[in-house]
């Protein structure tokens, strides 16, 4: 089975713990080389965060567990890259 190398998740999380703590915790998981979290909407008690994770072998169940443990919820999986290398989506005529 090919390894997941990139995951882009749309999540909703409470303001605390902060994205600094969340990035720190996610990057501690095995198989993850880098984590990027950016906030694109903020509410009184929660915020929407786009989480991009890259690594050699990302375990989605463990990522999900850790996000839920920190009070977050995954709205959608916006991008997945698996295999022996990372590729971006190709431009098509429709684009």
């Amino acid at each position: 089975m090919g390894e997941i190398r990139r995951l882009v998740l749309d999540t909703l999380k409470p303001l605390e713990p902060t994205i600094i703590e969340m990035a720190d915790e996610l990057s501690d998981l095995g198989g993850i080389a880098a984590v990027n979290i950016s906030i694109y909407e903020i509410d009184r008690k929660v915020e929407n965060a786009k989480i991009t994770i890259e690594g050699e072998n990302i375990s989605y169940p463990r990522v999900l567990d850790r996000i839920q443990e920190l009070g977050g919820t995954i709205h959608s999986i916006d991008e997945v890259v698996a295999g022996s290398k990372i590729i971006d989506d190709s431009a098509t005529l429709q684009d």
């Binding site: 909703l12 999380k13 409470p14 605390e16 713990p17 703590e21 509410d43 008690k45 929660v46 839920q68 443990e69 920190l70 009070g71 977050g72 919820t73």
Partner: protein, 197 residues
């Protein structure tokens, strides 16, 4: 010692999540202040009523301290648990998930216990400190000396609380100490007038 380091790390994490330190500090000062003023009332009541038997002062003082401790513990536990549960429910509605098994929920539960302990122990210990002279009554030539020493300790404790508040607010520590100390003097004077009358 690694469990101790882990516990400290977790306490720090919980504190960041739900602000345990700030609320515990507030409860500590408020209830220690309460405890000292209440015990001033007990002491002045006994003094003006002519009680010269240290055993009676100790038993009334201890009973009052224990009651204050239980009141603090129980009251804070119930109110804090209700408030925190409400906050978590509200947050759950926002995130549309059950947050009961998350770190925030565990931090909230820890906060309830910590705040209840602070709320219960602070008036109890403050009252106990003020009563200390009656536990070593043999050191005093007369029981009235123990009363005066206890009242002096009470005023010093109030001043200490004032200093602490001043330190917290990063304001004028002396001014805060004067404000808390005056409360003690007022309590002594009013109790004295009521007892004399």
């Amino acid at each position: 010692m690694s469990w101790f380091r882990d516990a400290l790390q977790r306490a720090g994490e919980y504190d960041r999540l739900v602000n345990i330190g700030e609320i515990a500090r507030r409860y500590f000062v408020m209830n220690a202040f309460d405890g000292v003023l209440t015990i001033i009332g007990v002491l002045m009541g006994n003094l003006t009523a002519g009680v010269r038997e240290p055993r009676i002062v100790v038993s009334t003082g201890l009973a009052t301290s224990v009651a204050m401790g239980i009141s603090g513990l129980w009251g804070a536990y119930l109110t804090e648990a209700a408030e925190r549960e409400r906050d978590l429910d509200e947050l759950s509605r926002y995130t549309l998930t059950d947050l009961n098994d998350t770190r925030i929920a565990r931090a909230s539960r820890a906060a309830v216990v910590a705040v209840a302990l602070v709320d219960g122990l602070s008036p109890f210990l403050a009252a106990l400190v003020v009563l200390t002279p009656f536990f070593v009554i043999g050191l005093f030539p007369a029981v009235t000396w123990a009363y005066y020493t206890s009242l002096a300790i009470a005023l010093l404790t109030l001043l200490g609380l004032g200093f602490f508040l001043g330190h917290v607010s990063r304001g004028n520590v002396v001014l805060y100490a004067v404000k808390t100390g005056v409360a003690g003097v007022v309590a002594v004077l009013i109790s004295f007038l009521l007892g004399g009358w």
